[in-house]
Amino acid sequence: MPRVNRTLVFVLLLVSSCAFLLFQLYYYRNYVSKQTGLHLLNPGGHVTSRQVQWQTLKKFLALAQYFRLPLFLADTAALTLLSHDALQQRDRTMHEPHCSFLCAGRPITSFALQASRWKDQPGFLLAAEEKGFELLEVRGHDPRLASLDTLSGEEIPLHFLFRLHGYVIQVVLLYERSGNYLWHGVLRLKAGMDRSFAPFNLLDYGRHGGAYDRPELILTVVDNLDVRVPRNISRFLAQRRRARFLECRYHDARSFLQLYPEDSSAAAVEFRRKAKTLLSLAAQTLGELDVPFWISSGTCLGWFRQCSIISYSRDVDIGVFIADFRPDIIPAFRAAGLSLKHKFGKVEDSLELSFLGEDVKLDIFFFYKDGDVVWNGGTQAKSGRKFKYVFPSFSLCWAELLEVKVRVPCETLDYIMANYGATWSVPVRSWDWKSSPSNVIENGVWPVAEWAGLIQVY
């Protein structure tokens, strides 16, 4: 091979790789860095970018203050940093004098606002746009009207995203719902909306709807900015982790009720009233004890199928993980005016409590985890026979039933299908708890010697 060729190849390779490299650098800067707001190729810019973010936040908060919008900080990263102890706080302040909490290395900061304080202020949005913020407003159906399915109003604002200098500020609107909680909607982009407006998967709020208690707010100074934060930050963060809210399937419920109209006899109306009272009493009592519960069996089916209580179900069923069992559940319910009707099983196995309020029964089933399934037990009082109801494991979501905020299994359909089979959507009036459920398994008999302790009927 001639010598000249070799040099030529060498030079060509060099030039092309140079060109490649330059192109790639250009591409990288343009496409990747801009998207995430991370200035990887500009390590010196890291501090300045914090300053820019801080300036952005300052401008935004000043605007909110001017329009008297009581925004509060809802950003998980920032709140997590705030909830840590003060020593660390001083450390960080030493290192980065400016923006150590609010600019937690993320291009997004989230705030929340009670919708009743929003009152449709176009002035605020206009002013923000004048200050250079780009705005993305996400609207959605009003769930407070959707509950009737026959009403349609104007779509309500759910989320606002403000963008300046590549930083995004999310404002989540929290609406009052009739179960005495705050609700925010899912963030869904409509056709024609800018999909690259923000890194949506980094948002703290919007993947799912959420339900929150009304937080108590305090005004404080964070990074030299006046910011409202929840008084109990860790509680708020804990709520956020389990805030996912499922709207009832009102539309399907409506079709169901057209097929099988609701019983409007006086007895059914009366039962629904009593069931509602009992459910809200249970929610209140267990809420005070911090025992999470979900609606189970027929009550869950009623929610899922018809967004109501099944009028012939005769009782209210709830589930509690055995890990959350506390002995003071029984005295708490007694104090709330219910009487213990029976107690089956023991904490280690098939525990079940039944309370009576007015003449409607409240059944509390305790659920046991076993590998990738969960199960609860049943006991026949007269024979001591044991039954086991097996469900695929599930996580818990919030929902609203009869204007009470309750939890339901997020994988509601799987849960219902396990319990009622594929024909869950057809009402069955004669139901035998020992044989009808599709997930019931015979589980032996309690030893007769232990009956006295394990089968208590009052």
Partner: protein, 653 residues
């Protein structure tokens, strides 16, 4: 990457003479092994970096792609169903077809039927359609039953309100000339109609005209005889559209005027709202109330498809002192556009309701949905103010409620607070500061307590298949449970609706037209706290003690029955043996010209009203507990219903 290895088979290097300076150096450099190695290593390093950056790029692109996929989750699953409005496609001409006949009328614009009426026993008279001269959109549809009296006046009023330049389409169904007077015919002539002066009994007629401009077409067929109708006529014509700018006014560009502009481009018949020169206001800014206790109480306006009524109603509501527009929601029964346009004109919230069931049950279901939604939308509210679209609202409506609303919380024997006094006519109501307790539920502008609705009414609200009136149902003893409502002597609302489910012109004339309506702002109510259950009894006892006995030997229907005094309190006793024995009261109500269709507005068998500026207490003996106040010598007045006339006359066409 392969490493660079020198060619082992290369020829050994032989230096040559006579080389250029450049080549000499090149060879010298290449000759030096170390330097060559260095270059080679540099190149390799360079290529390696290229590769690393490449890989990083690929990874990053991948991540971005992932993020995009993740962002997909944030996309609306439903495709956008709204298709863009059909572009005007540069067409400047509309094809219009108008048909007039005995049993059917229709109007088609560019092949789209905008009016079709072939229902029997309905839609008699002159149908009028107004089109926007720039877009061809239907801006108003009206029927004037000019077979009946006074409808032609309404038509003149309407036609005069239509902006100049709009396209008007007229067509007659069945009969439209019997009460079409000369004034209306002259107006039509002034529009350019050739036939209007000759229109007569059972003629068929169509006309397409631009107001204040050219006639696009007119057809008329005379009825050959009294008993027959004219032949159907079908008019086909073309209308030239004008430029959009010509059809619009040039108002200052404000937020309010943008709403106005939108409204005026869509609908017609709202008079000076759309006047170019001096448009009527759409924001009223009434004075706020000091200590307004109802500022945060939601207001539900129950509406149907009577947009002109809704317009009038909202105007009076938004002018009332202490109104909070943020709390107002208008619930429209059905997906009608024009009522929604009216709501948006005033910048209020509107909610549309898919109609359920028919007639009275439809209204009843609409009420239920509206009330439920109101408390859903305002979970913190303890009350809701319920209004209807055919009410005028008194300027001190909110002041009246603000002074009384605490009673609903404090007194469990109360069912509602209503702005309406069933017996409060111009000649029977006097004192705007006076309140009553009554055992009926008057409605027509009232306050509902959330707990009553949620705990009692909502769960057993009549289901769609029950064709009940919601208000009749609410008045039933099972619902009312002996509770009472607080009402003013002088009503704070005025019922102006003539068209309605249970309403017609005659009915309105007799029972609603002369109703007294308060126009004084900020009336300070008297003795509000004596409206509580026990305090009210004390009050009544005091009144009965003070009251002078009227002369029971006189005929209560005579004017002289109540002396010509002023400011005195009188008492009279009428016979009422049981709840069902209503004949005396009904006869009395008839001659007093108050509500006589059923027994309303009493408190424990006691009616309170004014005659000749004197307060008159009417006690039903013996069912009222106040009968004990009757002197033994006085026998209660007894009136018999007049004998029923045989074969009541039935109006026939």
């Amino acid at each position: 990457m392969e490493t660079w290895t020198p060619n082992p088979r290369a020829k050994p290097f032989i230096p040559r003479q006579q080389r250029s300076w450049y080549l000499t150096w090149k060879y010298r450099l290449t000759q030096r092994r170390s330097l060559r190695r260095f270059c080679q290593a540099g190149a390799v390093l360079f290529l390696l970096i290229t590769v690393i950056v490449n890989i990083k790029l690929i990874l990053d692109t991948r991540r971005v792609a992932d993020e995009d996929a993740a962002a997909q989750e944030y996309e609306d699953v439903l495709p956008n169903m709204e298709t863009p409005r059909r572009p005007a496609s540069g067409r400047k001409v509309l094809d219009i077809e108008v048909y007039s006949s005995r049993s059917k009328v229709y109007v088609a614009v560019d092949g789209t039927t905008v009016l079709e009426d072939d229902m029997r026993e309905q839609g008699r008279g002159i149908h009028v359609i107004v089109l926007n001269q720039a877009t061809g959109h239907v801006m108003a549809k009206r029927i004037f039953d000019t077979y009946s009296p006074h409808e032609d006046d309404a038509m003149i009023l309407f036609l005069n309100m239509v902006t100049r330049g709009r396209i008007l389409i007229f067509t007659i169904k069945d009969e439209g000339t019997f009460h079409l007077k000369d004034a209306a015919k002259d107006l039509l002539k002034s529009f350019g109609s050739q036939a209007s002066l000759n229109l007569s009994w059972r003629d068929m007629w169509t006309l397409v005209v631009k107001k204040g401009g050219q006639v696009f077409g007119e057809k008329h067929s005379k009825s050959p005889a009294l008993s027959t109708w004219g032949d159907p006529v079908l008019l086909k014509t073309e209308v030239q559209l004008t430029a959009a700018e010509e059809a619009e006014c040039h108002w200052a560009d404000t937020k309010l005027n943008r709403r106005r502009k939108l409204f005026c481009s869509k609908v017609e018949g709202y008079g000076s709202i759309c006047s170019c020169k001096d448009p009527a206001p759409i924001e009223f800014n009434p004075d706020p109330l000091p200590n307004n206790n109802v500022y945060n109480v939601p207001v539900a306006v129950i509406a149907g498809n009577r947009p002109n009524y809704l317009y009038r109603m909202l105007r009076s509501l938004l002018s009332a002192y202490g109104v909070n527009p943020q709390m107002i929601t208008v619930f429209i029964d059905g997906y009608y556009e024009e009522p929604m346009d009216v709501v948006e004109l005033f910048g209020l919230k509107g909610v549309q309701h898919t109609p359920i069931s028919i007639k009275n049950a439809r209204v009843s279901q609409h009420y239920k949905a509206s009330l439920t939604a109101t408390f859903n939308l305002h979970p913190d509210a303890g009350f809701a103010i319920v209004l209807e679209e055919d009410l005028d609202i008194s300027v001190d409506f909110f002041s009246f409620l603000s002074q009384t609303i605490h009673l609903l919380d404090q007194d469990d024997s109360l069912y509602c607070i209503s702005a309406w006094n069933d017996q409060g006519y111009e000649h029977t109501a006097e004192d705007p500061a006076l309140l009553y307790r009554v055992e009926s539920m008057p409605g027509l502008g009232w306050v509902l307590k959330k707990s009553i609705y949620k705990d009692e009414l909502e769960p057993k609200w009549p289901t769609p298949e029950k064709l009940w009136d919601w208000d009749m149902w609410m008045r039933m003893p099972e619902q009312r449970k002996g509770r009472e409502c607080i009402i003013p002597d002088v009503s704070r609302s005025y019922h102006f609706g003539i068209i309605g489910l249970n309403m017609n012109g005659y009915f309105h004339e007799v029972y609603f037209k002369k109703h007294k309506f308060n126009t004084i702002p900020n009336v300070q109510l008297r003795n509000v706290d004596s409206m509580r259950k026990d305090a009210y009894e004390v009050e009544i006892q005091k009144l009965l003690r003070e009251a002078e006995l009227l002369d029971h030997s006189k005929n209560p229907c005579e004017d002289s029955f109540v002396p010509d005094t002023e400011g005195k309190t009188y008492v009279m006793f009428i016979k009422m043996d049981s709840e069902l024995d209503t004949s005396t009261w009904t006869e009395l109500a008839k001659c007093l010209h108050v509500w006589d269709l059923d027994v309303r507005g009493y408190h424990r068998g006691l009616w309170r009203l004014f005659r000749k500026r004197n307060h008159v207490l009417v006690v039903a003996v013996p069912i009222s507990p106040y009968s004990v106040k009757k002197p033994a010598a006085v026998s209660p007045i007894h009136l018999d219903p007049p004998p029923k006339e045989e074969g009541a006359p039935v109006e026939q066409l």
